[in-house]
């Protein structure tokens, strides 16, 4: 009998009931994430990738969100059938998040020590020396001189440092799965590379699964084991990262890969995606 995967999504459909009718945000997607595996979910804005990420612990406001069909299985247990209390238990503890905007994802009125300490107190009440634990995780995510930074407020840190604090906060709960929703989009390019390197290192050190949600094919190689390409709420291509990157099958995937600027390339107009043509193919 094969081992139960950490996370299994089966035929998940998510609708938003708005005043102007129903919006189908996610249409029957399926994928699995094994322990220690990294899955990249790639797609453009509005393709349903962030909705999928938030749906994993039912963070979307209900209503208007309707889980129309399908299953979300976390270690074989159905997330869609969990009580609010059970959901709170898996949030942070099993699945932790990093969001796109580090500057607004931290509470402006608390020091970073207090925010991380809060996560530790909530999920690991057995920890005695909280300051030491906070410093340990800030060190782990590569924040320079964490002991001095403990009593800083979020606005006193740079964007890259704030994102490191967010990662430390997520890791301090010791989750099995980290959902990184566009973790580098709000950062400038050099910091993007640093954060991605950091995630790559952490993956080796902590052995947790990662779902990396991004619109940028350029950042996933070297970190993602598998990739799911989403377009209009559907997964149009799903497979091994190397295979998908070297031999993309779906026209949308091909188009996305063409959008990555190549170093040394002649200065030409970057490829764009012809949506009308793609509509016809799906």
């Amino acid at each position: 009998m094969p081992e139960t995967p950490l996370l299994e999504i089966r035929d998940l459909s998510i609708n938003f009931a708005t005043e102007n009718g129903t919006v189908e945000a996610v249409k029957g997607i399926s994928f699995t994430v094994a322990k220690g595996e990294t899955l990249a979910v790639v797609g453009e804005s509005g393709s349903g990738k962030s909705v999928t990420g938030l749906a994993l612990t039912r963070l979307l406001p209900e209503p208007p969100t309707i889980y129309k069909s399908g299953e979300i299985l976390l270690e074989g247990r159905s997330v869609l059938k969990m009580s609010p209390r059970e959901l709170r238990n898996i949030r942070g503890n099993k699945i932790a998040y990093i969001f796109q905007e580090p500057s607004t994802s931290l509470n402006p009125v608390f020091t970073i020590r207090n925010q991380i300490a809060e996560a530790i107190k909530l999920h690991r009440p057995e920890v005695r020396d909280i300051d030491a634990e906070v410093i340990k995780y800030l060190d782990l995510v590569g924040l320079v001189d964490p002991a001095k930074r403990l009593h800083d407020y979020p606005h006193q840190l740079s964007g890259g440092m704030q994102q490191r604090v967010m990662i430390a906060m997520a890791l301090s709960c010791q989750p099995d799965l980290l959902v990184a929703d566009e973790p580098t989009t709000a950062l400038d390019v050099t910091i993007q590379a640093q954060i991605m390197d950091q995630l790559r290192d952490l993956k080796k050190q902590v052995n947790m699964s990662i779902i990396l949600i991004t619109h940028n094919f350029g950042i996933i190689s070297g970190i993602a084991d598998r990739v799911a390409v989403m377009f209009r709420g559907k997964i149009v291509e799903y497979g091994d990262t190397r295979t998908v990157l070297s031999n993309p099958q779906h026209p949308y995937t091909k188009a996305l890969i063409q959008c990555i600027p190549q170093p040394g390339q002649k200065r030409e107009r970057l490829a764009t995606i012809d949506h009308a043509a793609l509509e016809a193919t799906i």
């Binding site: 898996i90 969001f99 905007e101 020091t111 207090n114 996560a119």
Partner: protein, 337 residues
């Protein structure tokens, strides 16, 4: 019940309880990182410190007028009376520092010099002004104790949970707000009977609407911010999110609303006194003094000291409260320093 409440011992205990509450709040705040930092910033704000001292003087004056002890003759005297009780009463008006009464027919010499003159009943205006401090503080304090928890709690609940909870709370406050405030105040006071307590209750019942609206709006805004999603993603309970994340982010509005609303409450007291449903006659209050000052302005010669001293006292309290509130807000703003 009434007799027990007005007993001098109960009153003394209440004052002690109030001051212990303030002391306890300061003590627990001094153990809190955020408040300690705010204090460090507040300390360097000279205007704020001066205003805080002025508010403190008002508080002490109010407390002195409540703290009392029994006398040999069976009545009670307040501590403030010990200091100013010796000032004799005149027969009628006398101007500030005048040597004779303000009466054309019988300008008798006054028994003592009155710093701010005397009123129609011959009472020393300065002493009355000091005594009225108590009334203002009791009404402001009691009203705030009612409307601030109500407004904050319902505002956050409505803004955070939305939908049915929001509908219900909005329904309640729009209904309350649709009744003309004065009419509602008078109705409540007439039903429950006159007195400082019922007046505060009535004011509190109408004042929470504004705060509730403000807090609801701000909570709606804050609840949309990613850090609330981040807190939920960490598995925080609703209670934790409300008390640890939303409340601290709307608390400055509560503080500002309180200090700005305080003047409105003291003003409402004088309006109600004018309508005859406010502070009982005989209880010194700035509202009563300002109210009687209106007709005295048209006398010849004009009697202005009554009105001016009550207004200046009211102005001093409101201004210093505003300055303290402003400095507090700046001290709590983490973007500064």
């Amino acid at each position: 019940m009434e007799a027990l409440f007005t007993h001098w011992l109960t009153q003394n205990l209440l004052v002690l309880a109030g001051f212990s509450l303030i002391a306890w709040m300061l003590w627990s705040a001094s153990h809190h990182e955020r408040w300690r930092r705010a204090w460090l910033r507040f300390r360097s704000d000279r205007g704020g410190i001066i205003a805080l001292v002025v508010v403190g003087i008002y508080l002490i004056l109010g407390a002195l007028e409540v703290l009392s002890f029994p006398t040999k003759s069976g009545g009670t005297r307040t501590v403030l009376d010990l200091f100013v009780g010796g000032v004799p009463a005149e027969k009628s008006y006398s101007a500030p520092l005048a040597t004779r009464l303000l009466s054309e027919a019988k300008p008798d010499p006054v028994k003592a010099t009155h710093l701010l003159g005397t009123d129609a009943l011959g009472k020393d205006v300065f002493v009355e002004t000091l005594k009225a401090c108590k009334t203002a503080l009791i009404i402001g304090g009691l009203t705030a104790a009612i409307y601030i928890p109500l407004g904050t709690l319902f505002g956050i609940l409505a803004g955070y949970f939305r939908r049915r909870v929001d509908d219900l709370i909005q329904y309640v406050y729009t209904t309350l707000a649709s009744i003309p405030t004065i009419l509602l105040l008078v109705a409540i006071i007439l039903v429950l009977g006159k007195g400082l307590g019922t007046m505060s209750f009535a004011l509190g019942l109408t004042a929470w609407v504004g705060l509730c609206r403000l807090i609801r709006g701000e909570t709606l805004r804050q609840a949309e911010r990613p850090y609330i999603t981040a807190a939920r993603a960490l598995g925080q309970s609703h209670w934790n999110i409300i008390t640890r994340h939303i409340l601290p982010n709307v608390l400055h509005l509560v503080v500002i609303n309180f200090v700005l609303g305080f003047s409105g409450i003291v003003l409402a007291e004088s309006v109600l006194s004018y309508l005859g449903v406010g502070t009982p006659v005989g209880t010194p209050s700035w509202g009563n003094m300002i109210d009687s000052g209106r007709s005295e302005l048209s006398r010849d010669p004009m009697v202005w000291w009554n009105l001016v001293s009550a207004t200046v006292a009211l102005f001093g309290l409101v201004l210093s409260l505003n300055l303290v509130g402003d400095s507090l807000r700046r001290a709590f703003d983490p973007k500064r320093g």
